[in-house]
């Protein structure tokens, strides 16, 4: 049983044949206005290239952003879009998705937008597990307002608002997301487009709030913040790509691995004969404790330490949990089923009336 509303009547008119798109179809007519060389360009490109593969009609895709450089993103996508206000995209997306669960809803946000002013809506979205995809463009800076430190900027960051270095301890976005009971938590980078595309697909596949943090270079105000991980030379040593069910191996020649020694992760050499692949930690996306440990491969590390942890990229955590939007809609369905479509006259009349002659 169901109420057939104007929306249902209107959208039923759709073209049912699945459309074949190319990346170009997702490019809007607006000039892209990021600084030349900004990491946002390649992310835009990968998103546009991934869209044809998610199997959703353009008309059913919505991008919602807050404010910031990253938040300009929806203007450049030839889908429905809203460039809203600072920090509120998750709340707007929640309203949209609850009322239109059939849409594919994407949230575009920056580290300031989602972890400073919008951090409340961010954690509530994760806890509710609204079935949307959130792309967090982390450049460890406020780009649009020209270079103040952000809540992900490392301690001591010198920026326009912290000429003597910042004092606050930064958020660990993945740890925060886990703490908020997020069901899908992943990390990618602007400079590895192939991996980014894979992650975008995974993000889309997951049912529930999919949180993909993307390391994004702000070439103007914070150039090179992630160079250690993104530079092709240092990347093999400093980044580790996670794959479900596979051992944790990294290094230029896949010569290093990570073991669990009790609760303690340890970097080991795979070439000195002590350990082999079989001794390593096997990645399990469903294991919350392992995800916790992985999220903590994070603290400023000592590049001189041979056994320093690499930074994990890929899906750290992915579990199923009922989605809020679905729950709301099934509850409405159930009540409709049980009580029938509400009769307006009955409601207006109420439980008790009297007649004046």
């Amino acid at each position: 049983m169901s109420l057939e509303t104007l929306i249902d009547l209107h959208t039923k008119n759709g073209n049912d044949e699945p459309v074949k798109y190319t990346g170009k179809d997702f490019s809007s007519d607006q000039d892209v206005r990021w600084c030349p060389g900004c990491g946002d360009y390649t992310i835009l490109k990968q998103v546009q290239n991934t869209m044809p593969d998610i199997g959703v009609d353009k008309k059913d895709i919505v991008f919602i952003s807050g404010i910031g450089c990253a938040a300009r993103f929806p203007y450049y996508m030839d889908t429905f879009g809203m460039h809203s206000i600072h920090g509120r995209a998750p709340a707007i997306a929640t309203g949209l998705k609850v009322s239109r669960p059939e849409l594919s809803v994407w949230i575009i946000t920056g580290d300031g937008d989602s972890l400073s002013i919008g951090a409340n809506h961010f954690v509530q979205l994760l806890r509710r597990n609204v079935n949307v995809n959130l792309l967090l463009f982390n450049n460890q800076i406020y780009g649009l307002t020209k270079g103040q430190y952000s809540p992900t900027a490392p301690e001591g960051s010198v920026s326009k608002s912290t000429p003597y270095g910042s004092i606050d301890h930064p958020f660990n976005p993945l740890a925060l997301s886990l703490g908020a009971d997020g069901t899908f938590i992943a990390r990618a980078m602007d400079r590895d487009p192939r991996h980014l595309q894979q992650m975008l697909l995974r993000t889309n596949q997951h049912k529930g709030t999919s949180m993909l943090e993307i390391y994004q270079n702000c070439i103007v105000f914070n150039d090179g913040a992630f160079e250690l991980f993104t530079d092709k030379k240092s990347r093999p040593r400093e980044a580790i790509y996670l794959e479900d069910g596979k051992p944790l191996i990294f290094g230029k020649n896949k010569d290093k691995g990570i073991r669990l020694d009790g609760l303690q992760p340890k970097v080991v050499s795979l070439t000195d004969g002590t350990y082999s692949k079989d001794d390593l930690w096997i990645h399990d996306e469903k294991d919350g404790t392992k995800a916790h440990l992985l999220s903590r491969f994070f603290d400023q590390h000592n590049p001189a330490d041979e056994f320093r942890m690499p930074r994990p990229f890929g899906v750290l955590y992915a579990v199923d949990r009922p989605c809020y939007d679905e729950g709301v809609n099934s509850q409405v369905e159930e009540v409709l089923e049980r009580k029938g479509v509400g009769d307006l006259d009955e409601l207006l009349r109420g439980p008790e009336t009297w007649v004046v002659e």
């Binding site: 008119n13 073209n15 895709i61 809203s84 709340a91 009322s99 239109r100 409340n120 409601l347």
Partner: protein, 620 residues
């Protein structure tokens, strides 16, 4: 003793007791019976600010006032004729509300040492016997004891017996005012359907209360209040918040849209969330958000998707929504913001009423950000105003403020409710899809029709993919624009669009009095009943005074200026320090004078009459 049966035009009764004494229920039942008897009536419930203040204390007192009569009744009455007090704290808290010479019915067991202490009457003092009540008629009844006796054979425990006390009082009052018991008996049978022994006990106590009146020989008078002349039809009783809910649901049903309600609890708005959350089978989606910002944002998201997004709050919560409401102004999407006003500033007095957010509704956002404002005049009028708020928002693609207040929210009145088929239609049409590449026309999301309204282009519609945002937009295309001329144009357009709505709302009429004359009292919102009654009484005293009540506060009805010109004096009573009066003075350049009360309470009729006279005296 001989009991006289006197006829009265109008009576005000106030029930007061501890929060646990069931005074709200007692009042409501008396109200229902009275309504069924054909009287006109208005009620005023008053709750303690605390959830559950310690029993017996003044902060724990709960009261319910009912004014009914054979004449037109528009307020719950300034002061009461009869004050029922279940304990000494109730007397202390309410005595000032009793008319000189009025009747006090006091439950004597509520005046024992413990209770007197809790009410802080001072060592050894008891108002019942220290002569301090000598200018009233004091009727002492040991309700607790009598109830206990009435139920001595019932086998009920102490608690259940205690809880039945209020039925004794109700029965007694029914006797005093010649009311039948049937409807209350039916109610009790239904309420305690699963506990027939409780139902029976309550009914017994009710009847014993009634009989006590007949036999106790302490009452020398009883009263008859004849039927009022009320328009024929089927009525129900309704509070403002309930009527608001019905108005919202009716408007979305008339437009065949889902209603999305994003809200965060706050007194006195929360009941709207509670009521709506029960109406899922009416196509209502409720979302208790993490805060008011998320609440209004979620509603904007839903409106973008084609639902009617509604949000509600009060005081501090409305202040928080300002930024996002500004976004809705810029986006030109439907959005209804319900502000159930309470006493401010800041947290203020959450359980008390006030009308002090009108200018916030007008100006409480950055930039030139015009918004439509409607305000209901009475509890039942909340239905119409809420319906109109939705209609305007949907048909004109604008956010609309609905300004109710705590007094309307919890007050109730008889309502000749409409039939669904007689409701206005709300005309909504989504932008149609554009199939195929052949159609060269680019979709222009900010193209306007002759009413300056843009079209509602919802996701899921082929060929009209587009982007909106809070940055200034180019006329028609909606693309981001920093062009100076365009900004002026868009600023003017947003204003003109709101102004044009004046063509689609009713003209302002005079509520009572002459169309031209000496004095016009201009009101808005919940002061309606007090102003109407005061104006009537002043006309009876020979003053040439008219009353007009503005329900559309932005834009004003087109003829308001003309109407104002027909009078020599314009007085504007408000429960604030003067807000509408500013708008009137500015807009019509007329020396309107404010009459203001900021006490967390409605105007009393007498007080308002006096203030009107004073204003006229100093103004002429």
């Amino acid at each position: 003793m001989d009991v006289k049966d006197l006829v009265r035009d109008e009576v005000t009764i106030r029930f007061a007791g501890d929060s646990g004494d069931g005074m709200q229920l007692t009042g409501s039942l008396f109200t229902n019976t009275t309504a069924l008897e054909g009287n006109d009536l208005r009620t005023l419930p008053e709750f303690p600010a605390e959830i559950r203040a310690p029993a017996g204390t003044v902060p724990g007192v709960s009261s319910f006032q009912l004014n009914f009569g054979s004449i037109e009744i528009m307020t719950p009455g300034d002061a009461c004729d009869v004050l029922v007090v279940m304990n000494s704290a109730a007397l202390k808290a309410n005595l000032s509300m009793l008319k000189p010479g009025g009747v006090i019915i006091a439950n004597t067991s509520g005046f024992d040492k413990r209770n007197l202490n809790l009410a802080k009457y001072g060592e050894g003092k008891n108002p019942l016997d220290d002569g301090s009540l000598s200018k009233y008629t004091l009727l002492e009844v040991d309700v607790s004891k009598l109830t206990k006796e009435s139920l001595s054979d019932s086998g009920l425990g102490y608690k259940d017996v205690e809880r039945a006390k209020n039925m004794f009082v109700l029965g007694l009052l029914y006797w005093m005012y010649n009311r039948p018991l049937e409807s209350t008996i039916k109610f009790l049978e239904k309420k305690f359907g699963k506990k027939p022994e409780i139902a029976a006990a309550n009914i017994k106590v009710l009847k014993d209360g009634y009989h006590f009146g007949e036999t106790a020989e302490i009452f020398s008078e009883k009263y008859t209040v004849k039927k009022a002349v009320i328009g024929p039809g089927e009525y129900r009783s309704i509070t403002g918040n309930k009527a608001t809910v019905l108005g919202l649901v009716a408007a979305t049903r008339q437009s065949n849209l889902p209603l999305f309600f994003g809200s965060y609890p706050i007194t006195p708005a929360s009941d709207i969330l509670h009521e709506l959350s029960r109406l899922k089978n009416y196509g209502v989606y409720t979302f208790q958000a993490e805060d008011e910002i998320a609440a209004v944002s979620s509603a904007i998201g839903a409106s973008f998707g084609g639902s009617l997004g509604i949000t509600s709050s009060s005081g501090p919560g409305i202040a928080l929504k300002g930024e996002a409401i500004g976004l809705a102004v810029m986006l030109e999407l439907p959005l209804v913001v319900l502000n159930i006003q309470r006493a401010g500033p800041s947290t203020g007095m959450p359980t008390k009423t006030e009308q002090s957010d009108l200018l916030q509704a007008m100006y409480g956002r950055n930039g030139e950000s015009p918004m439509v404002i409607v305000a209901p005049a009475t509890p039942a009028d909340c239905f119409d105003a809420a319906f109109e708020a939705c209609r305007i928002s949907l048909e004109h693609m604008v956010p609309v403020f609905f300004l109710s207040d705590g007094y309307l929210a919890n007050g109730s009145e008889p309502w000749k409710f409409p039939k669904a088929k007689d409701l206005k239609k709300v005309n909504v049409k989504f932008e149609p899809p554009r199939f195929g590449e052949s159609n060269g026309d680019q979709f222009l999301p900010y193209l306007r029709d002759e009413r300056l309204v843009r079209s509602w282009a919802i996701p899921g519609t082929e060929g009209i993919e587009h982007r909106l945002g809070g940055l200034e937009k180019e006329e028609n295309s909606g693309n981001v624009s920093y062009n100076p001329e365009n900004h002026q144009k868009m600023t003017n357009l947003r204003q003109a669009k709101v102004d044009k709505i004046a063509d689609f709302i009713p003209l302002q009429s005079v509520d009572s009095g002459n169309e031209k004359g000496d004095v016009l009292v201009l009101g808005w919102g919940s002061t309606y009943g007090s102003i109407r009654t005061a104006a009537r009484e002043l006309r009876e005293e020979g003053i040439d005074i008219s009353h007009a009540h503005i329900k559309y506060l932005n834009p004003f009805p087109k003829n308001l200026g003309e109407l104002i010109e027909n009078f020599n004096h314009i007085l504007v009573p408000e429960m604030n320090s003067g807000q509408l009066v500013k708008m009137i003075r500015d807009k019509y350049f007329v020396d309107a004078v404010g009459i203001n009360k900021v006490k967390g309470r409605p105007f009393f009729v007498d007080e308002l009459k006096r203030q009107i006279k004073d204003a006229l005296a100093s103004n002429s």
